[in-house]
């Protein structure tokens, strides 16, 4: 697997649907995308994060005529799509030359349809990232490099079990949940899984928000400096790539 040489993936959130000043928001997205891509980073575009309907990464790239350099775009894909939309996303990614797909179960909302097991011919009670990875592998073969999420905040037995299932379904790399310090479960999983782990660093000073996102309390007694934290994680995991969530492009980008 040819992962990005700069060893940093920068998350860029697409504009929300039903928001005012669409053109301005699209321009801001394009500026961030180009800034990250021009500097050689991999741009990672989320998929309806927190259940809020946003624009899909591939349609933004198409409509805004953004360039796709090899290995420099990763699209998130969750299970809250109709089958026809799912095919639309994947076919478009294939056409655009987007290779890396991060498959996650995702956050639903009443507005977002959840993929049904019958639609992708699987017998499970619901479609999770495991079933979605298997479906993409079945239909698209090796067209994509598929990643999945590793949640070190989940109970260990559950997460290791899911890790194995994700790899068996076709996941080729893992991205952790945001880390503030080295984590024993991540290290155990890295050592036993045999696939690359990308470490997610939390670039927002708001640790409470991280707790809200992952659904459990993250202790942080001192004032949190995200850049300092990222540097310490880089030292702790010198051989790993990093995924930077909620990076402030104005104040933090030049410090990378």
């Amino acid at each position: 697997m040819d992962l990005n040489q700069k060893r940093c993936r920068l998350e860029v959130s697409p504009p929300r649907q039903a928001s005012e000043k669409l053109t301005e928001r699209l321009d801001r997205f394009a500026a961030k995308y180009n800034k990250a891509a021009d500097a050689g980073y991999c741009v990672c575009i989320t998929d309806n994060a927190m259940g809020n309907p946003t624009f899909q990464g591939h349609e933004l790239i198409q409509e805004l005529r953004l360039s796709v350099c090899s290995g420099q775009v990763m699209i998130h894909l969750n299970t809250f799509h109709t089958l026809s939309d799912l095919r639309w996303i994947l076919d478009s990614c294939a056409e655009l030359g987007i290779k890396e797909i991060l498959v996650v179960s995702g956050d639903g909302s009443p507005r977002l349809p959840r993929l049904k097991p019958s639609e992708i011919a699987c017998s499970s009670a619901s479609v999770t990232s495991v079933e979605l990875i298997a479906y993409i592998r079945r239909i698209y073969g090796n067209e994509f490099i598929i990643g999945a999420a590793f949640n070190q905040y989940e109970p260990e037995e559950h997460e290791i079990f899911k890790l194995d299932r994700k790899i068996e379904a076709g996941a080729e790399f893992m991205i952790t949940q945001p880390m503030l310090k080295p984590d024993a479960l991540v290290e155990k999983a890295m050592n036993t899984s045999g696939i690359p782990f990308i470490i997610e660093a939390w670039m927002s000073p708001n640790v409470k928000l991280l707790s809200d996102c992952i659904g459990c309390d993250i202790e942080c007694r001192e004032a949190f400096d995200p850049v300092e934290c990222f540097e310490s994680l880089r030292k702790a995991y010198p051989d790993n790539e990093f995924y930077l969530a909620l990076l402030d492009f104005k104040t933090q980008f030049d410090e990378l």
Binding site: Q17, A18, Q56, E59, E63, R111, P113, P155, H158
Partner: protein, 263 residues
């Protein structure tokens, strides 16, 4: 087929606050969205147009900011949109609102079908669809429609959910349907649709433009009086008790939910 879909912009949160004085919803500072049930009406209208041709117009009564809801309807694929906006509409109950919407449908002219969501999630009355029918005099109406089985020779065949199950009704167009969530799976708009919506003008009509009798608008035209509001009684659920302290019980619950991938 000329179809009109009535949509409403509602608060986008489940925990809304009510002004104790006016007994009306406090809408300031709250994100507004299209009423969830109305997406099903919009989707059904778009599917009918795909099958039978014609046009779909989104219609909404509300403040200027309701224009965003209409833009979303255009992004989804409606051909046009009309906002009914006038200070004299403020305070209208479902009866006065139905009156305004019915006048707008009449003004649009030659409408074959009006679709509404089953109910709005803010008022929860489910009265506007039937109210429009009442104002349109001889137009037939079906509520709780969970499928449109067919349309031929000016007759719509619909499957309707009732208290005892389902029945099938035949309605001669022009007609009005209130649809429920079983009827389809609404699409999510695409960026192309949103970009298109920026270039489609939204017509704004006031009370004079639809020929409304101002005595039948707003609080004056509203027979409803809200005398008291209270939170709903919670429904009975199956319960399971976890042993241990609060923290331990919460951790067990979290663990169980995660083990079944419920969260």
């Amino acid at each position: 087929m000329k179809i009109v879909v009535c949509i409403k912009q509602v608060p986008g949160v489940s925990s809304v606050k009510i002004d104790p004085e006016t007994k009306r919803l406090i809408r300031d500072g709250i994100i507004s969205v299209i009423n969830p049930f109305d997406y099903y009406a919009l989707e059904e209208a778009l599917r009918l147009r795909e099958l039978h041709g014609g046009t779909v117009t989104a219609l909404s009564m509300g403040p200027q900011k309701a224009e965003l809801a209409l833009r979303e309807a255009i992004a989804l694929g409606t051909d046009s949109a009309v906002l009914l906006c006038d200070r004299r509409f403020a305070g209208s109950d479902t009866w006065a609102t139905s009156y305004v919407l019915a006048l707008a449908v009449e003004k649009l002219g030659d409408v074959d079908l009006v679709l509404c969501g089953r109910q709005a999630i803010d008022g929860d009355t489910a009265q506007v669809g039937p109210g429009i029918a009442a104002h349109m005099k001889d137009w037939p109406h079906a509520a709780g429609v969970s499928a449109i089985n067919g349309f031929a020779d000016g007759i719509l065949s619909v499957k309707r959910m009732t208290d005892n199950g389902y029945d099938e009704c035949l309605l001669k167009i022009p007609a009005i349907l209130s649809v429920n969530k079983e009827i389809n799976q609404p699409r999510v708009p695409r960026l192309k649709g949103w970009l298109r919506s920026e270039h489609v003008p939204i017509e704004i009509w006031d009370a004079d433009q639809i020929g409304a009798d101002t005595n039948l608008l707003g609080l004056n035209g509203s027979p409803t009086r809200v005398v008291r509001t209270a939170p709903p009684v919670s429904r009975d659920k199956k319960t399971r008790l976890f042993e241990g302290s609060e923290a331990e019980s919460a951790a067990q619950l979290l663990h169980e939910l995660r083990m079944i991938s419920a969260i």
